[in-house]
């Protein structure tokens, strides 16, 4: 036992957490005592003796858990053990519950954790739908309802979509570029462990007096600055989730820039790598803004500052500018990695190079650049500077262009291919194209100011959100999970269950979210627990569809768990793909490669006889192959 306490791990972590909490609590009490204030401040926006421990306890836990051991030794000038790989690889299931620095283990930790959050967010969604099934109060009161959709959105966005992409990329990206691991493995592990912490903080707000945070996922001031204690949990949770994503993004950027295998010049990188490069640029540049906005709200709440107190010279609308300067790029943070996955899947399963590869990569960069210049399209009716509206409308609508390039290029990839539909991942990719176009086009409509004036803050927005986030991001996530499941687990999932899951999800998504367009246009506002009875029938229909959609997800979970344990062995390369991660064993060896592979061509050279993407270590390496002549289509008409 004494031994267990001294070693990094759960015991020491628990002790660290208690000590951290005690330290934070003591600090607050001591400072208040020194300044002659009452020891406990329990005004609804106050509670410093809860908020400060909420920040210090996780750090205590991380210290105890072993997140900083190496850095402490290093900082103190003690000898560090550079080739100690004891925190690498997973040999038993317990290894997944350690501070593990192996990118493959971290990838799986991420995916499993975030899928749990998906279920939690989904259950919250089903509670929302239960309340909305009929007009009038069904299961919860109005203020509880506000807490439900706020936590639903936050769990889905910060704990599911954004991190699961980080998880998938964590697993495959280093393999794809021929790197033995991420650039900063310990930082990588730290990023992961910040995530469950953020989750506990967000969900912990349900226990706070006054209930969970309920100012929407957007947390507009001054509603949020005056809200009960739960809102501070939101402010703090965003810091943990944000720090986690910034650290991961930084890690991806450095890995992609400095650790590519020899021969892998930028134009030989798989598009997933490009997609994560773009996403990471967005995260590093934009996420600090949401951190800043939530710091300001927190300061207003517990330090009595006046950033958004209009009576004290604060500016109410500035919150929205700062928030959306992050949160618009955030929607592409939630979409671009998905674009990368789709490129991989479609190219592999139609046995063809990605059409217009370079333009595809440039379109990603174009989206990154444009997405920093459109934030105010969320504020067309917010009473902001009216001169800013038209410029933002134009930039907003222009984003349709690079996105369209991607859609059309995927279609172009299908043409003249050999399209295999046996894999669920391909099905989801094709369904993604159709569904996302609908969501994207409703986005363009929202970008047109006169239309937005009418439909802003109605169910039309809710329809847009779910078409792009569920029909967009979530479909790509499913595609990615099905695609790399054999690589991650070494086993094959059940395609039949996959198909049931696929059809149920597609039909459920369309049934649940299409009618929202109409009821929104017709006059049903969003974020209401009760509504005019004319919308009763449609809402019932939506609720039933949503439950269907939820039920189908159980099949997915079942398929994943059972196949992981009992599925047939998958082999190294079931999809006959060219990129490097498929050239190693499934699951890959602990250190990925014995020797770094050598890249000799593009990643998607299907159909060119003898074309190779990479030559693996240990293979009798022929000399660098000549770049295959890019075949061109004779002009189409």
């Amino acid at each position: 036992m004494a031994m267990a306490i001294r070693q990094p791990g759960w015991y020491r972590g628990a002790i660290g957490m208690v000590l951290g909490a005690a330290f934070g609590f003591g600090l607050v009490i001591a400072l208040r005592a020194i300044s002659g204030l009452e020891l406990f401040q329990t005004e609804q926006t106050g509670y410093p003796h809860v908020i400060v421990p909420l920040i210090t306890a996780p750090f205590g836990f991380l210290f105890g858990f072993g997140a900083f051991d190496y850095w402490f030794r290093w900082a103190a000038g003690k000898p560090t053990i550079p080739d100690d790989h004891s925190a690498h690889g997973a040999y038993r299931w317990q290894d997944y519950f350690k501070f593990n620095t192996d990118h493959k283990v971290i990838g799986i930790q991420y995916v499993v954790t975030t899928l749990c959050f998906f279920l939690i967010g989904g259950v919250l969604a089903l509670l929302i739908r239960a309340e909305l099934a009929q007009p009038g109060e069904q299961i919860v009161a109005a203020n509880t309802y506000n807490g439900l959709f706020s936590t639903h959105a936050i769990v889905m966005i910060f704990l599911f979509i954004i991190p699961i992409f980080a998880g998938l990329a964590n697993y495959v990206l280093p393999l794809m570029i021929g790197a033995p691991d991420m650039a900063f493995p310990r930082l990588n592990a730290l990023s992961f462990w910040l995530l469950p912490i953020a989750g506990i903080v967000f969900l912990g707000s349900f226990l706070a007096p006054g209930g969970a945070f309920d100012a929407g996922w957007t947390g507009y001031a001054p509603l949020s600055t005056g809200a009960p204690l739960g809102q501070s949990f939101f402010n703090v949770g965003v810091q943990f989730a944000g720090a986690s994503s910034i650290a991961t993004a930084l890690n991806f950027l450095v890995t992609i820039i400095t650790m590519r295998a020899p021969g892998m010049n930028p134009w030989r990188m798989p598009l997933l790598v490009w997609a994560n490069l773009s996403t990471s640029l967005l995260v590093v540049g934009a996420t600090p803004f949401v951190a800043g906005a939530q710091f300001m709200v927190l300061f207003d709440r517990i330090l009595g500052m006046n950033f958004f107190q209009f009576l004290e010279g604060g500016d109410v609308i500035s919150y929205q500018h700062i928030f959306w300067f992050y949160s618009h790029p955030a929607v592409y943070i939630m979409m671009l990695p998905g674009f990368g996955i789709i490129s991989e899947v479609i190219s592999t399963h139609s046995r063809k190079p990605v059409f217009g590869y370079r333009l595809m990569a440039l379109a990603l960069i174009g989206i990154v650049v444009l997405s920093y210049s459109v934030w105010a399209h969320h504020m067309f009716v917010a009473g902001m500077f009216s001169w800013l509206r038209v410029p933002m409308m134009i930039t907003t609508m222009l984003i349709a262009v690079p996105t369209g390039i991607k859609i059309f290029s995927w279609l172009g990839t299908l043409f003249y291919g050999k399209i295999h539909l046996y894999s669920t991942s391909m099905l989801f990719s094709l369904a993604f194209i159709i569904t996302f176009v609908v969501g994207g086009i409703s986005g363009v409509m929202l970008g047109m100011i006169p239309i937005d004036i009418h439909v802003s803050d109605t169910y039309f927005i809710v329809a847009h959100i779910h078409f792009v986030l569920f029909g967009g991001s979530v479909f790509t996530i499913f595609a990615g999970i099905y695609h790399w499941f054999p690589k991650m687990t070494g086993r094959m999932y059940d395609e039949r269950l996959g198909r049931i899951h696929f059809w149920g999800t597609v039909v459920g998504t369309w049934m649940a979210f299409v009618p929202m367009h109409w009821i929104g246009m017709d006059g049903m506002p969003r974020r209401v627990a009760d509504y005019a009875s004319v919308y009763g029938d449609w809402n019932l229909f939506i609720s039933v569809s949503a439950f269907l959609l939820g039920a189908v997800q159980l099949i997915f979970i079942y398929n994943m768990i059972v196949s992981w344990r009992f599925g047939p062995k998958a082999g190294n390369n079931p999809w006959r793909a060219h990129s490097i991660e498929w050239q190693v064993s499934s699951p890959p060896p602990v250190f990925n490669f014995d020797e770094i592979p050598r890249v000799v061509g593009g990643p998607y050279e299907y159909g060119t006889p003898g074309a190779r993407h990479a030559i693996m270590g240990g293979e009798t390496a022929p000399e660098e192959l000549p770049e295959p002549e890019p075949a061109t289509v004779t002009s189409p008409s």
């Binding site: 033995p180 892998m264 934009a286 300061f299 500052m305």
Partner: protein
């Protein structure tokens, strides 16, 4: 030139105890690139607060700035600025010293930098105590304390990093090769950033 790094005939019989060395596909060192990107995101964090500053000063209020009745100790802050700026030179000196394998110079430079930084922080805290208004006093108080406070927090972190560098310097670590003095270079880069950021904060809050 890229394929040159493949060791020819690397036998398989050899036991591997660790991962293969990653191929270095860019000339920049990973840690340096890492800190530069980190600084980029730090700049954006300051950016968020500068955005708030802009709105509070230019959009929400049109009165005098700082508001009547508030007198900022520009003189003291100016001296403090000089202190911090000079510490950028000492940390640069430390780096140059170790590049020429001059350990004495390294220790001197790092110690000086640490002391200058600590002095800055001390004066800053002293200023807070005597300034005569609090973060609760209007939006001006909020933006003043959060911009300077955010910066102060960065000075604190920089000092922490410098402390580590100092410890290691006095233990005789570091050497003239780049990989042997990253522990000086990286905190140094961060420190320059803290410095430049202060000049911007100082100009925005005290001068214009």
């Amino acid at each position: 030139m890229e394929s040159a790094s493949i060791a020819a005939g690397h036998g398989h019989a050899e036991e591997h105890h660790g991962p293969p060395e990653a191929h270095q596909s860019a000339r920049i060192d990973r840690t340096i690139l890492g800190i530069l990107l980190f600084i980029l995101s730090e700049v954006m964090l300051f950016g968020a607060f500068f955005a708030a500053y802009f709105f509070i000063r230019a959009v929400a209020n049109d009165g005098p700035w700082p508001p009547v009745g508030i007198e900022l100790p520009v003189m003291i802050a100016g001296i403090n600025t000089a202190i911090l700026v000079s510490s950028s030179f000492t940390v640069h000196y430390a780096l140059e010293a170790i590049k020429h394998n001059n350990h004495r110079g390294l220790k001197l430079g790092l110690t000086m930098t640490w002391l200058l930084g600590a002095t800055f922080l001390f004066i800053q805290i002293n200023e807070y105590v005597h300034i005569g208004f609090t973060p609760r006093d209007g939006a001006f108080g909020s933006i003043f304390f959060s911009l300077t406070g955010l910066h102060g927090a960065h000075v604190f972190v920089g000092l922490l990093l410098l402390t580590f560098a100092n410890i290691r310097a006095y233990r005789g670590h570091f050497g003239p090769d780049q990989k042997d003095h990253l522990g000086v270079e990286v905190p140094g880069i961060y420190w320059h950033f803290v410095d430049i950021m202060w000049i911007i904060v100082f100009l925005a809050v005290y001068i214009i």
